[in-house]
Symmetry: C2
Subunit: 239 residues, 2 copies
Amino acid sequence: MPATSAAPRRRSGIPEATVARLPVYLRVLTALAESGTTTVSSDGLAAAAGVGSAKLRKDLSHLGSYGTRGVGYDVEYLVYQISRALGLTQHYTVVIVGVGNLGHALANYAGFATRGFQIAALIDADHRRVGETVNGLDIHHLDELETLVKEHEVSIGVIATPATSAQEVCDRLVACGVTSVLNFAPIVLSVPDSVDVRKVDLSIELQILAFHEQRKSTGAPGAAGVAVPDEVRTVAAAT
Amino acid sequence: MPATSAAPRRRSGIPEATVARLPVYLRVLTALAESGTTTVSSDGLAAAAGVGSAKLRKDLSHLGSYGTRGVGYDVEYLVYQISRALGLTQHYTVVIVGVGNLGHALANYAGFATRGFQIAALIDADHRRVGETVNGLDIHHLDELETLVKEHEVSIGVIATPATSAQEVCDRLVACGVTSVLNFAPIVLSVPDSVDVRKVDLSIELQILAFHEQRKSTGAPGAAGVAVPDEVRTVAAAT
DNA sequence: ACCGCTTTGTGCACCCGTTCACAAGCGGCC
DNA sequence: GGCCGCTTGTGAACGGGTGCACAAAGCGGT
């Protein structure tokens, strides 16, 4: 059965919506730290992260009271606390399955290593790619998936394969102990409830933007209720 | 400085949460159509999309009553209605800025063209890449950005540049009329309220997974048989 | 030592989204 | 033609998230 969606997982004290924002705060804070800033107010941090200051304070309050009234937050300390809350003080091992264009991009992505994620292996189904090296990482064949996952105690699998093989790869990952999956293939994966899946879908994001584009181009001042226009007015698009 | 507002956008009749799921339904439906299925029930469609059937029906009810009680939904008709609701019956032109690994992946991604998004141009700051061809598309230099955007009436910009140049590129896109931005760079972009921004952030997704991994490993070990060192028992008193 | 300024942390009310449960509606079977 | 089973569409209850507004709490200046 597909788990999916936002389950009411409250075993931890931190709301899911907050968890989703913590990495953003973390990134902004590390940038601040590198620029030499030692202290930041909730207003400042909120502005940099693109959220409201009240929301930010409430988010941080779920981790504990790590600010100083009248002053703000100590950047370095907050970085540590957020990292710990997110579990980034541990090390996670990752495999990337599918070394096409996207797989290459992922293998070269700096954001992985800098947050404690170690890429244990790149895996591809194409024998011709096996043996190649991307960003210092060897490409292994799909046959070795189980061996590699167990050997490196991989806990997170990244699927960057074509849609047709994504479910099969996912099943194999889950079967040998992977408990979290990041899926870039444009399909809905079925996994046991015990496995977390997050998906990143380029096409979906574009379509959501298209929806908002449409709203803008239809003028739409205050239409309520409404006759659904079968035809939409485009500004100047005649093909 | 206009910070990005994650405010509830209620200007259209369709809730934002529903809009985010419509592309998923659309994908499942097109797959069904290709496999020859002509009608589908809310239960069947919901299962394939990984959501609850009640939620699916409520989502679709926002578009209108396009189902037949006792029967289900006509696949082809529903595809059309969702496409129309999302604005995919219109034609959108896209530029991709930054032709690194990720840019290549995007340029080759089939999901763009198949949903009515046309890539007008690939743009990169590196002169050495200019003139190359990716997936039949020429790479132009960053200097031509304004010209290309205006000439092709681009409405959506995709930013796949390094973080350092993302804000500048974004500003230039907005300045010459782009009203929607899909950002892959790991920074928070500042844009006027009139511009929609969606971000896709690999690192953030991984960190969210890490959080859930942590929860699993600190909870009940013994599922799946992967031994994890449990040195992270720093839990403060939970009230 | 006190006062006033600043900023955090949070109680509260509101709103969006999810879920349940069921009446309404449609097709097919007898 | 009437009944029966199936499925949609939706009213209503519920829960989580957001934003407001303010009291509590430090710090610096006098």
